[in-house]
C-alpha cells in the first residue's frame, strides 16, 4: 500500500528535473530555472546564508547566466556538489552548468567530455604555515605534515612537488575546507595547502590572521572556470559570453550603477553592442537584446562581483593579482563583442 508514497512523490516531484535532451538552452527556458552546481560551501565563493540564499563569487556567475537567459537572477537552483559528485551531476544533466572552483585540465576537458567555457578565477596552489614555524619557503618543508583537500587536483600537484624536490611529507587528507581549517588551527598539520584564494579566504577568518603566512611558492596553475557538457555548443556559447560580458563590462567601464545611463546609447560602439542598442548579438545567441545588460545588472560587472565577494574590502581581502584586466597587467581578456 505504502509503495505509493514513492509513486506519488515521483509524479509530483521526481520528474521535475526534466530531460537532458540536446538543447540545454531550450530546456532551461522551458523550465524557467537554471540548475547550477556549486560547492557545498567555500568561504567567498559559494555558501548559503541563514535564509538559504546562496552568495559568493561562483554564485555570481550562475546568477549572471540566469539573468541573461531567463531575465531573473534568482531563477537559479543551486545544487551543492562534492568533488566526487560534481562531474556526474553535470554529465547526467542534473545540472546545466558547474561553477565550482573547477580546475581546467586536459583530461577533464578531453577525457571526461566537458567544455570549460572560460576562466573566472586564475588561481594556483599555495601553502599556508604558522609564523611560529619559521618557514619561509615550501622547500623547507621536509618531513612536515600537510593538510590537503581530497577530490581535487591538489593532491596530485602536492605529490609531484614533493617528489620533484625530493623531500618527504605526511599527507593528511580532509573532506571539506572547514575541517582543514580546524586541523590546521589546532596544529594537527604544519601547513595547509589548497588554492591560494582559498588559503587567503581561510586565513581571513582566523582569530589572529597575522600569525600565519602564505608561503611564496605557487606550485601549480589552477585556472578555475565554469564548465558545461561537451557537444552542446549553443548552450556553451551562452554561458561563455555571459561570463565574457561581465569581464568586458569592467574593461569598458560599464557598472551596475551607470548601466541604465549607458544603455540609452553611447559613442562607444562596443558598449552599444553589448548593451543591445546596436547590432543583433543577443539574437545570434538565441536570447533577446538585453541579455548582457541583465547579466551585468545581476551582480555588477566582473570587478564589482570580485570586490563584493572576495575583494579587498571584504574580510577575505584578495588582491586582483592575475585576475586584473589585461590593461592593468592581469590575465582577464575578453574577446571583442562584434
Amino acid at each position: 500500500m505504502k509503495k505509493s508514497v514513492f509513486l506519488g512523490a515521483l509524479t509530483v516531484a521526481g520528474l521535475a528535473a526534466g530531460v537532458a535532451a540536446a538543447g540545454t538552452l531550450d530546456d532551461v527556458k522551458a523550465r524557467g530555472k537554471l540548475n547550477c552546481g556549486v560547492t557545498t560551501g567555500l568561504v567567498g565563493f559559494a555558501a548559503p546564508d541563514a535564509n538559504g540564499h546562496w552568495e559568493g563569487f561562483d554564485v555570481g556567475v550562475c546568477r549572471a547566466v540566469a539573468a541573461a537567459v531567463l531575465g531573473d537572477k534568482d531563477a537559479v537552483e543551486f545544487v551543492p556538489t562534492t568533488g566526487k559528485t560534481r562531474f556526474t551531476a553535470l554529465a547526467s544533466g542534473e545540472i546545466d552548468m558547474l561553477a565550482r572552483n573547477t580546475t581546467w585540465t586536459f583530461s577533464r576537458d578531453v577525457d571526461l567530455k566537458f567544455d570549460f567555457i572560460g576562466v573566472n578565477y586564475y588561481d594556483g596552489q599555495g601553502f599556508m604555515a604558522p609564523k611560529a614555524l619559521g618557514v619561509s619557503s615550501a622547500k623547507e618543508l621536509d618531513g612536515a605534515t600537510v593538510c590537503i583537500q581530497t577530490g581535487t587536483t591538489t593532491e596530485l600537484n602536492l605529490a609531484d612537488f614533493f617528489r620533484s624536490n625530493n623531500i618527504s611529507y605526511e599527507p593528511v587528507p580532509i573532506e571539506t575546507n572547514a575541517e582543514g581549517q580546524q586541523q590546521f588551527l589546532a596544529g594537527a598539520c604544519d601547513v595547509y595547502t589548497t588554492d591560494a584564494s582559498g588559503l587567503a579566504a581561510t586565513r581571513a577568518t582566523f582569530e589572529n590572521p597575522g600569525d600565519y603566512v602564505v608561503l611564496p611558492e605557487i606550485i601549480s596553475k589552477e585556472p578555475l572556470g565554469p564548465l558545461v557538457r561537451h557537444g552542446d555548443n549553443e548552450w556553451g556559447d551562452v554561458v561563455r559570453w555571459s561570463l565574457n560580458a561581465l569581464v568586458a563590462a569592467e574593461e569598458l567601464g560599464i557598472t551596475s550603477a551607470n548601466i541604465a545611463e549607458l544603455s540609452a546609447g553611447t559613442n562607444n560602439p562596443e558598449i552599444n553592442r553589448i548593451l543591445g542598442t546596436e547590432g543583433t548579438l543577443g539574437e545570434m545567441l538565441g536570447l533577446d537584446v538585453d541579455w548582457a545588460k541583465r547579466a551585468i545588472m545581476a551582480g555588477g560587472n566582473y570587478g564589482e562581483l570580485f570586490e563584493k565577494n572576495i575583494g579587498e574590502s571584504t574580510p577575505i581581502g584578495l588582491a586582483r593579482g592575475l585576475n586584473a584586466q589585461w590593461t592593468e597587467g592581469g590575465l582577464l581578456y575578453a574577446p571583442p563583442f562584434r
Binding site: G83, K84, F87, T88, A91, S107, D111, L112, K113, A132, L133, L141, D142, G143, A144, T145, T150, G151, T152, E155, L156, L158, A159, D160, F162, R163, Y169, E170, P171, V172, P173, I174, E175, E179, Q182, Q183, A186, G187, A188, C189, D190
Partner: protein, 415 residues
C-alpha cells in the same frame, strides 16, 4: 475379480500451469526468473547505451596506471608511482586493520559495560545506562567527527614537546607515538607475490617470535596436563607456576636476544616525531568512535544474554560457594555466550561496514582510495564502485562464515 488400474492419466493442458499446484510453482519460478533476467538485461542495456552516449568504455585498465597520490598510513610499501590497484590494496589493508582492532576493543568494552550495567552499584549502573543510550541514539558519523575534533582540539601539538624529554609514549594531536620493536640482527623479510600489486612482506623476526611463543605455550600446556594427571592420581597438585612461566619465557627471550631486540623510541626532529610506531589520529578517532559506538550495542546484547540465564544458575553457583565475580566468569558468561554470539556477528558486520565512514576523518581505507581519490582522478565510477562493493561483500561474507562456524561450535547441542 476386479483389477486395480491406475486412474486415467490426465493429458497435459496449458491451463494446468496455473491451476494445478504441481505445475503452478514451476510456472511462478519460471516467470520470476524471466522477469529477473529481463530486469538485468534492461539495466545492462541502459548502462551500455548511457556509457556509449558519454563516450566511455568500461575497462579496468586504469587500475594499472600510476596512482599519483600519496597515502599516509601504509601497512605495505607504496609510493605515488605505484598503480591504482596497489593503492586500493593499501586501502583494503587499512580497512581490515581498523575493522579488526575495532571488533576486539568493542567486544571487550561491550562485555565490561554490559556486566557493569547489571551491577548492584547504583551509580555505576546508571552511568553505564547513560553511556549506552547516548551512544546508541546518536549517528555514528557524528561520533566519528566528534572524536576526531576532540583529539585535534584537546591534545598538545608535537612542537610543544620540542626540547622536552618525552619518554616512550608521546600523545600528540597528530596521533600517538609508541616505541617500535626493532632487531639489530634481523632475519629480514619474506616477499610474497613477487612484484605484483599484492606484494606483501612478512617479517621473519615476527614469525620466529610467534613460533617461540607457540612452542612455549605448547610446553606449558603439557606441564599443566601432567600436573592435572598427578592431581587426579594422588590428589595433590604439584606447584607448576615457575615451570610454566619458564616454559613460556625462555624460548621467547632466547629468540629476542639472538635477534638483538631493542625498542625504537620516537624523537622530535624537524616538524614531527620520527621513529617509533605512529598511530595517526585518523586511525585512533575512527577506531575509538567505532569501538565505543558498537560497544554500546554489544553491551545491550550481553545484558540481554545474561538476563536470559535463569536465576537458578546464579543461586546454584552461590550454593557451591563461588564468589560473585567467579559466578559471572565461570557460570553465567559461558552460558550467556550462546545467546550473545548471533547478534554479535551482526555487530561485527556493522562495525566493518561502518568503517567505510573513514573518509569523514581522512583515514585512507578502501572507500578513501579506490572509491575516493582513484574514482575522482580517473572518472571511472562504474568500475571502481562495482569493485569496491564486491570487496566489501567478500569481507562481510567471510566474517559471517567464520562467525557462524564458531557459533555452531559453541551452540548448545540439543538432545
Amino acid at each position: 475379480m476386479t483389477t486395480l488400474t491406475d486412474p486415467p492419466k490426465e493429458s497435459f493442458r496449458l491451463s494446468m500451469l496455473i491451476y494445478d499446484t504441481r505445475y503452478r510453482s514451476m510456472t511462478i519460478q519460471v516467470v520470476a526468473l524471466i522477469g529477473f533476467m529481463l530486469l538485468i538485461g534492461w539495466l545492462v542495456n541502459n548502462t551500455a547505451q548511457n556509457l556509449l552516449d558519454l563516450g566511455k568504455e568500461p575497462s579496468f585498465s586504469f587500475l594499472g596506471e600510476a596512482a599519483g597520490y600519496d597515502i599516509n598510513q601504509r601497512l605495505v610499501d607504496y609510493d605515488n608511482q605505484n598503480s591504482h590497484l596497489r593503492a586500493s590494496f593499501v586501502g583494503l589493508l587499512n580497512t581490515l586493520l581498523v575493522a579488526v582492532m575495532g571488533c576486539i576493543t568493542a567486544t571487550i568494552l561491550g562485555v565490561i559495560i554490559g556486566v557493569l550495567r547489571l551491577s548492584k552499584n547504583w551509580l555505576i549502573s546508571k552511568l553505564m545506562t547513560v553511556y549506552v543510550e547516548t551512544f546508541r541514539n546518536v549517528p555514528v558519523l557524528l561520533w566519528i567527527v566528534f572524536t576526531m575534533a576532540i583529539l585535534i582540539e584537546t591534545l598538545p601539538v608535537p612542537r610543544s614537546f620540542k626540547g622536552v624529554d618525552v619518554g616512550a609514549v608521546v600523545v600528540t594531536n597528530r596521533g600517538i607515538y609508541v616505541p617500535e620493536p626493532l632487531f639489530s640482527r634481523s632475519l629480514g623479510d619474506i616477499h610474497l607475490f613477487g612484484a605484483s600489486s599484492f606484494r606483501f612482506d612478512i617479517s621473519l623476526d615476527l614469525i620466529a617470535f610467534l613460533i617461540a611463543l607457540a612452542l612455549g605455550l605448547f610446553v606449558r600446556h603439557k606441564i599443566n596436563q601432567r600436573a592435572h594427571r598427578i592431581q587426579e592420581e594422588t590428589g595433590i597438585r604439584p606447584t607448576t607456576w615457575y615451570l610454566s612461566l619458564a616454559a613460556v619465557a625462555v624460548p621467547v627471550l632466547v629468540v629476542l636476544v639472538t635477534l638483538g631486540f631493542y625498542l625504537g623510541y620516537p624523537e622530535f626532529k624537524g616538524f614531527n616525531f620520527r621513529g617509533g610506531t605512529h598511530m595517526r589520529n585518523s586511525l585512533i578517532a575512527l577506531w575509538l568512535a567505532l569501538s565505543l559506538y558498537t560497544a554500546a550495542f554489544i553491551a545491550e546484547n550481553v545484558r540481554a544474554g545474561i538476563l536470559a540465564i535463569s536465576k537458578g544458575q546464579t543461586e546454584a553457583a552461590a550454593a557451591l560457594g563461588l564468589r560473585s565475580n567467579r559466578i559471572m566468569s565461570l557460570v553465567i558468561l559461558p552460558q550467556a555466550l550462546r545467546v550473545i554470539i548471533p547478534p554479535l556477528i551482526s555487530q561485527y558486520l556493522n562495525l566493518t561496514k561502518n568503517s567505510s565512514l573513514a573518509i569523514a576523518v581522512g583515514y585512507m581505507d578502501l572507500t578513501g582510495t579506490l572509491m575516493g581519490i582513484t574514482l575522482n582522478q580517473t572518472g571511472r565510477e562504474l568500475e571502481t564502485l562495482l569493485l569496491g562493493m564486491l570487496i566489501y561483500l567478500l569481507i562481510s561474507l567471510s566474517i559471517s562464515l567464520v562467525m557462524n562456524w564458531y557459533n555452531n561450535r559453541v551452540k548448545l547441542v540439543e538432545r
